[in-house]
Symmetry: C2
Subunit: 461 residues, 2 copies
């Protein structure tokens, strides 16, 4: 890049002191929650669509890479500026622009934190359903860019299902809207969904219209344990066939249960087998009815079943479940969880096979693995943990994660269910999607971003 | 096109007698359910993906237009070969390839009729939710190409939400898969959703993996009438806010009610006001609870409320609702319904204004209009009816439909909620979507189909 000082001045004209180029500040933006690093040349915190548009015009003119970043909670290097250039820190664009309850939607800036949005929506009796584990700190912009979801996706769907409209700044600075306030339309290509999950490679999202849903009045939780994941999987299908769609359906293996109990010694879980948490939501009567039916269906096949009796206990279980991935050090203080191979997914029938194969991989490479996840939609989180000071363990971990990803692809699955590709999983794109698919992606990318300035190096683009 | 006879022979090599070029057979394919006409040069009924691929290679080589057609029930000319060339009649590719209930999905060829699919799925306790009025005769391929939906979309979403994977033949004959059997994934651009609603302009769909849902065990129907659509609209929001998502929420105006009563004199409906049909589905208890709450919420604002007591009556009401659009001649035998301006949608809060404005347009041009539709998702069907032998009435009808479309756009809405753009609504694309949006669509189109052979002239491409 030529004339860094002149470029800085151009940015400064637009955003004043909200552009930084000191090494310490650039260093703060050199990674997200992954191990992938890349130092930006500039960090800019835009406050408006117009600022983003003017910044992109300059970047496009001088072919400066631009990487958008929300809260930096991504686990695949999606927000890491591996080719330098500008990091656009979108977290200052965090206004809820409009509560349009009567149209069943809200309009937000990309830096809005979903939990904050939901706290505000609660009084109206509505919520924004997608709920990644990081929902207390991540941003809506990041969720849209990665098509995030979470435990309630089985009933409510992924972020993709809730985006009605995006305001996007294109690489050349043009601003487009991809949708409107209308809840359904059959007019034109679905550019909205094309941007969802595109990880900042096609444009910078500066505003989003999101569909909201009525808050369920009641929830119930059934905890059941099974001899094997195969039996657990069969029960899940029987529950669907009985006309019940749980609002969550999480499987936890033995190691996960051990960690959960260390997190909160008051938690009551069976000691053996694979456990499934079935949550149902709705009204008082409907949840009672569904929970009764779930228990009835589980009964002939489960080792143990019980309905969680109080709201307090239910809250404690979900809180522990939310923290379990990071809490492994409670079991062994020498070990740290490393996010690698952590987000695979397969057709749901294959979940038991996937669990078995991951157990074998864990043994082969002598890397402990905790397995838990959304059995109802085929997504399995694998927590591998090592002594991060030991290079040999790092080496084995890398080989284990490679094998986990390849296994998911062989089972007809995906290397990422909800965390995204970024750089961490870019090498698997061709095997998972095929050459022609990737070629089409590259052509679409060139259409939107002919100079390749937007998040270069990601998604194998 | 050069050498029609040689081209015919090339096609004949691939599909034998399933290519036709006689005038009478070509004439059968000169239109869909719209008034738009265009004579194809060849009609081909492929039986396999490989045949489609080989046909497209020839068409691409000789730049022959290719228009895919399902059952020809489209209302916007989407399947009309306005530039001649080949009509690919996909209705012979009508096999259900796999029932994969354990993975909550089915794999079908594009010619499968949705009602037939649902009859077959019923015994497993599942169904494919999108249900256009034409579901007894239309095809899944057409539904995907137009992102069709129907009365249950308010709870279940549109076709877009149910497509997991598409096998698509590209313009140059390459075959790609856009997804897999996995229920959720965050890997790569969402090509699946890009094809959904693209009306055959980007590729020919030859296979689809569809998500299925558990069949609800019980349904209930509440019929309420209101002084005005404004009050009715308010009630709908209150019902959402109470945590209830009806499985259908249909508004019917006075004229519609009159026609319904002529269709089936046994139907019991109030004589005044705007009527809403609230359907809830679920289990026996949950539907009882929801229906009770709906009645409670309606009570202070409705003129009349009653719950439909029997399954038979419920069936009769929905059957009449399904036929109402075409049944106008029961009211006035000199009049025929013309599908024009029939599928507009607006943000749901604007539905009362839209209804009022359409009434004004109906009076201004002296064209009777029946108004009914999916108030819960902002989609309003307008049935205009004229004496089709009278050129003056045709002229007034055209001006009325133009004004209806413009009104929807002005209210922040869409010229098509669920029927598609085709040629009938192509002229509104620029106003509804904007220049930049349309330019991006054109670039994407060129990426997939550089020679412009796929359904040319549609979507203003």
């Amino acid at each position: 890049m030529k004339g860094a000082i002149q470029i800085f001045d151009r940015f400064h004209e637009i955003v004043n002191e909200r552009v930084r180029s000191s090494l310490d500040e650039r260093f703060c933006y050199a990674s997200d929650a992954s191990q992938i690093e890349g130092l930006p040349d500039f960090v800019i915190r835009p406050k408006s669509t117009e600022e983003v548009s003017r910044i992109l015009m300059i970047c496009n003119e001088f072919e400066i890479p631009v990487t958008a970043r929300g809260a930096g909670t991504g686990l695949a290097g999606g927000a890491t500026p591996v080719k330098g250039g500008v990091v656009l820190d979108m977290s200052s664009m965090n206004n809820i622009i409009e509560f349009d309850i009567e149209n069943l939607q809200v309009i937000v800036e990309p830096g809005v934190v979903p939990e904050k949005l939901n706290r505000t929506l609660k009084s109206s009796g509505f919520f924004f359903p997608p709920d990644p584990g990081s929902s207390a700190i991540c941003t809506i912009g990041g969720m849209i860019s990665n098509n995030s979801s979470g435990i309630h996706c089985i009933k409510y769907g992924t972020t993709r299902n809730y985006v009605l409209d995006l305001q996007v700044v294109l690489a050349d600075g043009r601003v487009i809207n991809t949708g409107s306030k209308v809840l359904k339309s059959s007019v034109g290509y679905d550019l909205t969904r094309l941007f969802v999950g595109s990880e900042g490679t096609l444009g910078i999202i500066t505003r989003a219209g999101l569909k909201i849903m009525p808050l369920p009045i009641a929830k119930r939780l059934v905890v059941a344990s099974f001899d094997s994941a195969v039996i657990a999987g069969k029960v899940v299908i029987q529950i669907f066939s009985a006309g019940i769609i749980p609002s969550a359906c999480e499987i936890l293996d033995n190691t996960t249960i051990a960690v959960l109990k260390r997190c909160d010694p008051n938690l009551v879980f069976p000691n053996l087998g694979d456990i499934i948490l079935f949550e149902v939501d709705g009204t008082d009567n409907s949840t009672a009815e569904q929970s009764y039916r779930i228990i009835e269906i589980c009964a002939p096949l489960a080792q143990s079943i019980r309905e969680v009796s109080s709201k307090t206990e239910m809250g404690a279980i979900w809180e522990a479940r939310r923290l379990v991935g990071a809490a492994i050090s409670r079991l062994d203080p020498t070990k740290t969880r490393v996010y690698a191979g952590e987000d695979v997914g397969v057709p749901i029938k294959q979940i038991p096979i996937l669990i078995k194969k991951i157990q074998e991989i864990s043994e082969e490479f002598d890397i402990p693995a905790m397995k838990y996840g959304h059995i109802g939609d085929g997504s399995l989180h694998v927590a591998l943990f090592i002594d991060i000071m030991d290079p040999d363990q790092w080496e084995r971990l890398k080989r284990a994660q490679e094998k986990i990803h390849r296994t998911a692809i062989e089972l007809g699955g995906t290397v990422s269910s909800e965390h995204g590709v970024g750089l961490a999983r870019a090498i698997y794109m061709r095997d998972q999607l095929g050459n022609d698919f990737l070629e089409i992606m590259q052509s679409i990318k060139r259409t939107f971003d002919p100079k390749g300035i937007l998040n270069p190096g990601k998604l194998s683009l």
